[in-house]
Amino acid sequence: MQLLLVEDELEIQGFLKQSLTDAGYEVDAAKDGRTAVQFAAGKKYDVLVVDLGLPDQDGIDLILQLRRSGVSSPVLILSARRSVDDRVKGLEQGGDDYLTKPFALAELLARLRSLLRRNLAASEDATRLRVLDLELDFIRRRASRGGEVLNLSPQEFVLLEYLCRHAGRVVTRSMLLAEVWGMRIQPDTNVVDVHIYRLRGKVDTEGREPLIKTLRGIGYVLKDR
């Protein structure tokens, strides 16, 4: 996976490049908009990580400029601004995503995978989805494990669906809040965890192999192997 990282703070650029490389990306790092445009002209990247506060130009303008020159890969925006301004929201509708600094590395990696997957277009069957012995039927809104129907509430079904669509990948709490509940909040209580515990109580019943794993301090992952 080719990744273009545009970040002017060299310290941040340094550890991002290291951990992204560790995660299996081939990373080119640019420290300003001009260098980024040069990189983008020479190579096709699968995904871009762009910081909004660049020394020579605004990150949004850079993204728009890249889009105009034919770069259609998804962009993950890093922002040090607190409130996300409307222009970022406008971009987000184009399949991009944003993270506010500081962020967890796991969150960044999870969102990158999510972006790349989103970009692969809907290759799954639109009516049903299988992960190991777990099967989701989207028409009847019903989930079953090993042929046995699980008694899920509509909310739990949506939650499980999101986990299954990201099977094998880490999903963070804020990703779940944003995608399942549609809100960007950071509750200082364990509201999301309780939902997962409940879902786990129904999916990973006794005698079955546990599918939903908790990664402490990071999030959750649904095993697919």
Partner: protein
Amino acid sequence: MSSKTANPVMHSAAWRISLWATLAFAIGTMLVFTMLHRFVANDIQRRSDAWLSGEVEVLGDVAVRTPKDRLYGRVVREVAELASKEVPNKLRSNGNENDSVFFLQAEDDGPLKLWVGAGDGTQNLAAIRARKVVSDVPYDLKVNGFKHPFRVASVRLEDGSHIYLGLSERDELRVLRNMRERFLGIWLLIVLFGFSIVFYATRRMLNYVREITEAASRIGQSDLSSRVPTNNRNDEVGHLALTLNHMLDRIESSMHQLHTITDSLAHDLRSPLTAIRGKLEIALSGDVKVEHGEPIVSAIDELDRLTEFLNTSLDVAEAKADALRISRTEVDLDELVRVMIGLYEPCMSEKGLRVQLRSAGSVKVLADEALLHRVIANLLDNELKHLPASCTVSLQLRASEEVATLIVEDDGPGFDVEIGRQMFEQRVKGRDSKGHGLGLAFVEAVVRAHGGSVTASNRPEGGAQLSITWPLDTRENAEAPHSLTLVNR
């Protein structure tokens, strides 16, 4: 704005101003006319008096000089008739008979000696005698059978008889009446015309003022970047618009400055925080023994708390300065609260808390949805953290004509009494609270930035109550079916 009153025009300032201006103008012109009228009336009287005095003198002379024979009556009558033809101010005589002038000669108590004029003169003599007072200056005399009074001058002859010369005031009064009628007609026209001009002018001016007011209030509610219309006028109202715009420029620039400061502060703090957090995470991902990893994890936790604190306190600071960036969309509070309760309910029941919602259906407001999410999450987080088990949190949502009200109450220990009025201040928190003391300050700041208000109190039956009122989206009043829904699991 006064569209609720029956007749908006009658209640407008333009109407009142033109009414008063017209009234002052009308009274003024009326006074001037009264003075003129008086002057003209006096002048006419003076002229007729002079004529009367002169003529009666001449007649007296003639009467004295003419021998008292058979011809006496004829001579005097000729002279009197001649004189009556030169009457001043005379407009026309109706018919042949001259009724505007009379001449009579009589003893003090004898019969009529000589009479020239309309009728037989007895009424005139009776009226003169009834007056009793004899004066040398002309006086007004009302005679029975005549519509208009006479102006009479007299002269005493040597034989003791008097000669009276009377001049009807008919023509004089007619001149004055004509003058009054014409004046009144013109006066009415001028007053009406003046009223309409003043009304039109002030209405135009005040309409412009109203445009400015409306634009200014629009700006106050939404964006600071637009300006009131100036129309390139150079009068007081034009200056008002310009001054308003200058003020808005300054407000916008200080707002912009505040944003720049908070943004750069946020940026300057966030970059090192990001770097520290990233390095800690990398350190953690290496081969670290559990006992060495634990401090790193807790350092990351502390960092996250610091970040959250930084975010919220900057938000509160901006909101307190009315500079919170709000992007309003139509939000259904009912739906939003239900989703939030759906998110928090499992966690609450895990802690032994019950949640119930009473709502009368959809309540639409114009608000920033993301901020609303954080407000409700803050309130529910508060309940989660502070309520002991087996308490009930109840939320009520209702809408009146202008406001939506959300009441969050519980039957727990209630607010710390010591906090009292400073509940919504930053950094104020209960004694046992582990939070950073910004939650309620943030709630209050966001609600206030949307034009609403928050009140907090302890219920008399125990427990805390927080009431949020929110201005409704008045453009369309959503239907409010009065059903009662209970979410109580």
